[in-house]
Amino acid sequence: MAESHPQSLLDALRPRLAAVAELDAGALEAEQIAVLGRKSGALTALLRSLATLPPEERRAVGAAANELRQAFEAAFVARSDALVSDAATATVAQRDLTMPGRRRWVGAEHPVTKVVDEICEIFHGLGFNRAVGPEAETEWMNFGALNFPADHPAMDMHDTFYLDVGGDARPGDGKAVLLRTHTSPVQIRTMMEGPPPYRVVIPGVVYRKDPFDPSHAPVFAQIEGLAVDEGISFVDLKGTLLHFARQFFSTSTKVRFRPSFFPFTEPSAEMDVSCDLCGGSGCSACKGTGWMEILGCGMVHPKVLENCGVDAERYTGFAFGMGPQRIAMQRYGIPDIRLLYEGDMRFLDQMGRAR
C-alpha cells in the first residue's frame, strides 16, 4: 500500500464523493468510517502520510487532499440531514391524525355568575361600583326603610321567609329578622354610609317563599342599581338603561317603559326590551309580543332618601332591579329554572361552552 502514489489514491476517492448522496443510513456510516475514520479512514491515512512526501509534492497533494476532505465532510452532513428528514416524513405519514388529542378537565363559572358579571361590568363602565350586603335582614331594612307601608297589600308581592332568632321580635314589628326579599336593603346601607353621589350595582341572593316550579325558585339572584345625585332625573334613568340594554343585548335593541308600582320608587316603571330572538316580530320566547320584560325601575322615592338622611329636595336618583336567572334562561333558552340549581355536569358543561 505504501507504494500507491498519493495522487492516484486521491483520484480513486473522488468518484466515491458523488456516491455519498445515494447511501442509506448504514452504508453512510460505513463510508464515513472508511473515508474519514480516525483510525483507518483512507483519506485520514493519506493526510497522515503527507509528512513523508517531499515538500513541493506535499504542498500540491496536501491542498487537494484537504479540499477533498472538506467536500466529503459536507456531503456526509448533507446526506445525514436528508436521511433524518426522510425518516420524519415517513413517521408522520404513518400517524393517524384523526385520533383524539389528550384533553384535561375544564371548569366553568355558573351561567348566572356569567350573566351577573356581564351586567355589573356594563354598569361599571357607567361609573357604578359593586356593593353587597347581608342576606338576613330586619324587617325595617327590607320593608320599612324602603317605604313599604306597614301591613299593606304591597307586602303580598313579597312572600317572606322569617327566621327564628329568639328574642321577642315578631313578624310585623319591624325588628323581626327575615331573609331579604330583594337586594334593595343594600341601597339603604349604601346611603347610610355617607353623602351622595351614589352610583352602585348590587348583585346578591334573595329569597321569596315560592315553591320551585319551572319559572320560580325560593332563592334566586338579583342585581339592583342605584344612582343618586343632584340633577338625576327620569331622563337619566331611561338613558342609562337603554345604554345597558344595547350593550347587553345588541346595538339595535329597542326598549319601552311601562308604568308600574314599587313602594320604594316613584315614578316606577317596567322596562321591556325588544325580543333578542325574533327582533320584535314575535316568537315563542316573547310569547308573540315581540317584547321581553327585563327589569323594574323608577325614581327613588323621596321617603327612602329621607329614611337614609339624604336631603330629598336637593338630591334625586333612580334605582333598578333585575333577575339574572330569568335573563340567563332567556339568553340560553333554558326551559326550567331548576336546571340552574341541580349541578348536573352535563348542563354545566353545555353552559360552560356558551358565550
Binding site: M99, R102, R103, R104, W105, G107, E109, H110, T113, L126, G127, N129, R130, A131, V132, P134, E135, A136, T138, D151, H152, F161, Y162, L163, D164, V165, G166, G167, A169, V177, T190, R199, P203, V205, P218, D229, G231, S233, F234, V235, D236, K238, G239, R256, F257, R258, P259, S260, F261, E266, P267, S268, H301, P302, T316, E342, G343, M345, R346, L348
Partner: protein, 791 residues
C-alpha cells in the same frame, strides 16, 4: 281584576278591540295578563225552526223533530226536552259543532233513530243553569242566522294585573277613566235597562246613629268603620236576574245568584265598592250596628262555616249578635233568600288594615276583602247606593222605605296636595307645560284648585285614589299620562360615586377564576335545608320540613349534587360553590353570615385517553390536598394547610381552623369512585399585591438524597430539618419519591428529596454544595437517626 270588554263599551259608548284595550292599559300601567273569549263554543250555533215534532217510536220521553237551519236540508233531530214545539225557534248545534262544555256533535243513533245535531238548553250553551228544557228564542231572525249575531253575547274577559296602589282599577269605572283619557273621550255609567234613571233621594247625613225604614243603624267602632250608608227597600221580588245583569256578572267570572246579589256584585265590579243586602225580616231589632266582635262571639259565614270571632275584628251585628265580618263576608242567617221581600242595603267603608287583619286571621279572602284592603272610595257611598237602588228597582221592583242614612261621625275630605312644576322638571328631567299638567290631573279626576302662583298648584285628589298622598305621587301621574316613552332617553353627564367596589366581590371573582382553572364547575345550591348543626337557624315559616333551616355548611348540598349526577350516570364530577352560611347569633339579632367556598371531586383524574388504553386513575387524597392548598391560597391566603386528626385543615395565623379537606360519605352506586372535598372560610381582607422578585441569572445545582426513614418521621419534619441545615445556598427542597419494599427494613420507608442550590451572584462550585450536603446528612444522622439509603 276581570274586566268585560262589553261592559267597558257600555261606559264609553264605542266599540273596542280587546287587544287594543290591553295595549292602551299596559302603556298606562295596568298589564293585561290574558284575554279570554267568553262563549267560545257558540260560534257554530245557529237559530233554527222546528217544523214538525213526532213521537219517538222506541222511547216515550223522546221526540223526533224536523229542524230547518236555513241550509235547505231538514235535519232529523232526536230531542228529549218536554217543551219542544213545532213552529218555535231554538238554538241549534249542527253535526261538527263543539259546545262550550267541549262536546262535539256527531251524527248518531238514539234508540234506533238517527239524530243530526242538537237543540240546546241554556246550560248546554253555557248561558246559565237552566236545564228544564231547550231555550226557546223570541226573534225575528231567519233560520240559519248565527246565534251570536242575534243574541249579542260575544265578549272577552280581560284579566288585568292591578298593582296594589290602584284600587280604583278594581272597578270598571276606574278602568274606563284610563281608557277615556287614552281615547280622548268622555264616559258615563251605563244605562240600566228598565230604569227611568236614578231616583234615590240624597241620603241623610248623620253622626254615629240614625234610623231608616224602621231599622236602627249605628257605628260603635268608628275606627274600623268610619262611614256607613244604609237603605231599606220593601216589596222586592227576589228572582233570576235579567239577561243583561246575568251576562255582566258572569262576564267577570262571578256566578249569577239572584237579582239582588247580582245587583250588588254588579255595583262592586262597576264602582269598586262591595255592598251587602240583608233580609230585614231576619234582622233582630231590627238593627244594623258596626261594632267590635265580643269575646267568644261566633258566626256562621255565607260559606256555611262556623267561625270564632276575635275582639280585634269589626263586625256587623243586629240586636242579637254578629251577622257579618265587616268587609270580609256576611253571615248565612240574614242572607237574602227567595222569600225575602224587604232589604237592608249596606254600603260602608271599612278600614283597610282591620279588614286585612281579620281576613288573615280567619283565612278567608273574598272579592270584598280584596277591595277593602286596598282601599275603596270613602266619599263615594251616596253614588254607589243610588246605583244599587236603581238596579234593584229595575230588576226586582220594590220601593225605598224612608230616606237612606249616611253615618259619617268624623267627616273628612280627600287630601289637597301642592305640586310644584319645578319639582316635576327636577324629577322627570324635562319641563312639562302647565296646561299639560292640568290636563293630566283633570283626567285622573283631580280638581286643580289654583293656578301656578308661588310656583305651586293646589290639587284636590279624587277619593278613589288613596295612593295619591304626596307631591311625588302627582309627579308620577304626570309622567304616566304624559307617556314614559315620550320622555327623552339621554345619557347625560354624571358624577361617579366615591365608594369603591366591595372588596369581597373581587375576592369572589378571583376564587371563581382559580377553581375554574383547576377544572371545577361552579354550582349554586339552596341555602335552605335540613338542620345540619348545633348553630342552625330555623325558618319560622318554611316551605317544607326538608327546607326548614339555613345551612351552616356548603359541603352537604354539594354531596347531594354529586349524588344527583350519579343518578344521571355521570361518574366524573368536579364542583365548587361560593356561598353564604348562617350561624346562630345573639338572641333577637340576625344570624352571623360567613362566606365560604367548598369543592368536591370524584371520578377520573383526567379524561381517559387512548394512549393510556382508555384508563385514567381516579382522584385520590393527593389530588384533594393540592386542590385544597390552591383553594386555601385563594380564599384565605394567610392560612397554612396542616395535618390534624387524620385530615387536612387550613389554619389561620393564631391557630383558628378555617377550612377542612377530607373523604366524604355519600350514597354511592357500586360503580362510583370515592368522593373527596373541602370547605374553607373566605377571608374578607383585601388581598395583598404580589411583589416582584428578581429572576435568578446563575445556574442551579441539584443533589438527590435517598434516605432510609423510620416510622414516625414525617416528610414535613425532614424537609424542615434539611432546609434549616442546608444553609442560605439551599434554594428549595422537594419530595422526589417514596419507596417501600425489598431492601427497606420493616417499619421503614425510603424517601428521596431533591435539593436545589443556587448562589444569587455567581456560579456555584461543587465543593460548596458538597459541604452543605455533608452538613445536612450530619444533622439528619445525629438529630434524627436517619441515614442515606444504601443503593
Amino acid at each position: 281584576m276581570n274586566v268585560s270588554r262589553r261592559w267597558l263599551e257600555a261606559f264609553l259608548r264605542r266599540p273596542l278591540e280587546s287587544a287594543d284595550v290591553a295595549s292602551r292599559l299596559a302603556a298606562l300601567g295596568a298589564t293585561v295578563d290574558a284575554i279570554e273569549e267568553l262563549h267560545p263554543g257558540l260560534g257554530q250555533v245557529v237559530v233554527a225552526v222546528v217544523r214538525e215534532v213526532r213521537p219517538h217510536p222506541n222511547a216515550d220521553r223522546l221526540r223526533l223533530c224536523d229542524v230547518d237551519d236555513g241550509s235547505g236540508t231538514a235535519w232529523n233531530v232526536v230531542c228529549g226536552a218536554p217543551n219542544v214545539t213545532a213552529g218555535s225557534k231554538y238554538p241549534f248545534a249542527p253535526v261538527g259543532a263543539t259546545l262550550p262544555g267541549g262536546l262535539t256533535l256527531e251524527k248518531r243513533k238514539i234508540r234506533g233513530e238517527v239524530s243530526e245535531g242538537m237543540l240546546c238548553s241554556a246550560r248546554e250553551l253555557g248561558l246559565g243553569q237552566e236545564h228544564d228544557g231547550i231555550l226557546e228564542l223570541t226573534t225575528e231572525a231567519a233560520p240559519g242566522t248565527p246565534f251570536l249575531e242575534v243574541f249579542d253575547l260575544a265578549d272577552e274577559r280581560l284579566v288585568v294585573d292591578v298593582t296594589p296602589n290602584r284600587p280604583d282599577l278594581l272597578g270598571h269605572k276606574g278602568v274606563v277613566r284610563e281608557l277615556a283619557f287614552s281615547f280622548g273621550t268622555t264616559f258615563r255609567l251605563p244605562a240600566v235597562p228598565g230604569s227611568d234613571g236614578p231616583a234615590m233621594p240624597t241620603p241623610v247625613r248623620a253622626g254615629a246613629e240614625a234610623t231608616t225604614g224602621g231599622v236602627r243603624v249605628a257605628i260603635e267602632d268608628p275606627i274600623g268603620c268610619p262611614r256607613f250608608l244604609g237603605a231599606v227597600m220593601r216589596g222586592v221580588r227576589v228572582g233570576a236576574s235579567p239577561e243583561w245583569l246575568r251576562a255582566r256578572v258572569e262576564a267577570v267570572g262571578m256566578r249569577s245568584i239572584n237579582n239582588i246579589v247580582d245587583a250588588t256584585n254588579c255595583v262592586m265590579f262597576e264602582l269598586n265598592q262591595p255592598m251587602h243586602a240583608y233580609d230585614v225580616a231576619r234582622l233582630k231589632g231590627p238593627a244594623v250596628i258596626a261594632r267590635r266582635a265580643r269575646a267568644g262571639e261566633r258566626l256562621t259565614t255565607l260559606d256555611g262555616t262556623d267561625r270564632a270571632l276575635a275582639p280585634s275584628m269589626t263586625v256587623i251585628a243586629d240586636a242579637d249578635g254578629a251577622i257579618g265580618v265587616a268587609g270580609v263576608m256576611g253571615g248565612a242567617h240574614s242572607e237574602v233568600s227567595p222569600e225575602t221581600t224587604d232589604l237592608f242595603l249596606e254600603c260602608a267603608y271599612f278600614e283597610p288594615q282591620g279588614v286585612r287583619a281579620a281576613r288573615r286571621q280567619l283565612g278567608l279572602s273574598s272579592e270584598a276583602s280584596y277591595r277593602f284592603e286596598r282601599g275603596v272610595d270613602l266619599w263615594n257611598g251616596p253614588e254607589v247606593l243610588r246605583r244599587a237602588v236603581e238596579i234593584i228597582q229595575a230588576t226586582a221592583g220594590g220601593t225605598l222605605d224612608g230616606e237612606p242614612v249616611d253615618l259619617f261621625p268624623q267627616v273628612s275630605h280627600p287630601p289637597r296636595i301642592f305640586l310644584r312644576p319645578s319639582r316635576v322638571a327636577q324629577v322627570l328631567g324635562v319641563e312639562v307645560a302647565w296646561d299639560a299638567i292640568e290636563r293630566y290631573l283633570v283626567a285622573i279626576g283631580a280638581t286643580v284648585v289654583s293656578k301656578p302662583e308661588d310656583g305651586r298648584i293646589a290639587v284636590d285628589v279624587p277619593g278613589w285614589r288613596p295612593d295619591l298622598v304626596a307631591e311625588i305621587d302627582l309627579v308620577e301621574e304626570v309622567a304616566r299620562l304624559h307617556g314614559y316613552d315620550d320622555f327623552p332617553t339621554e345619557l347625560r353627564p354624571f358624577r361617579v360615586g366615591d365608594l369603591p367596589n366591595a372588596p369581597s366581590e373581587g375576592i369572589d371573582a378571583a376564587i371563581r377564576r382559580g377553581l375554574v382553572a383547576e377544572g371545577l364547575y361552579e354550582v349554586q345550591t339552596l341555602p335552605l335545608g335540613p338542620e345540619d348543626g348545633p348553630e342552625s337557624v330555623r325558618l319560622l315559616n318554611p316551605l317544607s320540613a326538608e327546607e326548614g333551616f339555613m345551612r351552616t355548611a356548603l359541603l352537604p348540598s354539594l354531596v347531594r349534587q354529586v349524588e344527583g349526577n350519579w343518578a344521571a350516570h355521570t361518574r366524573d364530577v368536579r364542583l365548587f360553590e361560593l356561598g353564604t352560611v348562617f350561624l346562630r347569633g345573639e338572641a333577637g339579632m340576625p344570624p352571623r353570615e360567613e362566606r365560604r367556598v367548598a369543592g368536591v371531586l370524584t371520578g377520573a383524574r383526567e379524561p381517559a385517553h387512548w394512549s393510556s388504553a382508555g384508563k385514567s386513575p381516579d382522584v385520590d387524597h393527593w389530588d384533594l390536598r393540592a386542590l385544597f392548598e390552591a383553594a386555601a391560597a385563594l380564599a384565605y391566603p394567610a392560612s397554612m394547610v396542616q395535618v390534624e386528626g387524620g385530615e387536612w385543615v387550613a389554619c389561620a395565623p393564631g391557630g383558628r381552623i378555617v377550612g377542612r379537606a377530607r373523604a366524604l360519605e355519600a350514597d354511592a352506586p357500586p360503580w362510583a369512585a370515592a368522593v373527596v372535598g373541602f370547605e374553607i372560610l373566605v377571608d374578607a381582607i383585601p388581598r395583598s399585591t404580589p411583589a416582584f422578585v428578581a429572576l435568578p441569572v446563575n445556574p442551579a445545582v441539584t443533589r438527590d438524597l435517598s434516605l432510609l426513614v423510620p416510622a414516625g418521621a414525617t416528610a414535613a419534619d425532614l424537609g424542615e430539618a434539611i432546609r434549616s441545615a442546608g444553609g442560605r445556598l439551599l434554594e428549595a427542597v422537594v419530595v422526589l419519591d417514596e419507596y417501600r419494599g425489598s431492601g427497606v427494613p420493616a417499619g421503614h420507608r425510603g424517601l428521596a428529596f431533591r435539593l436545589r442550590y443556587r448562589a444569587p451572584d455567581r456560579t456555584l462550585r461543587d465543593k460548596e454544595v458538597d459541604a452543605s450536603v455533608t452538613k445536612v446528612l450530619k444533622v439528619l444522622r445525629e438529630r434524627h437517626g436517619i441515614e442515606l439509603r444504601a443503593s
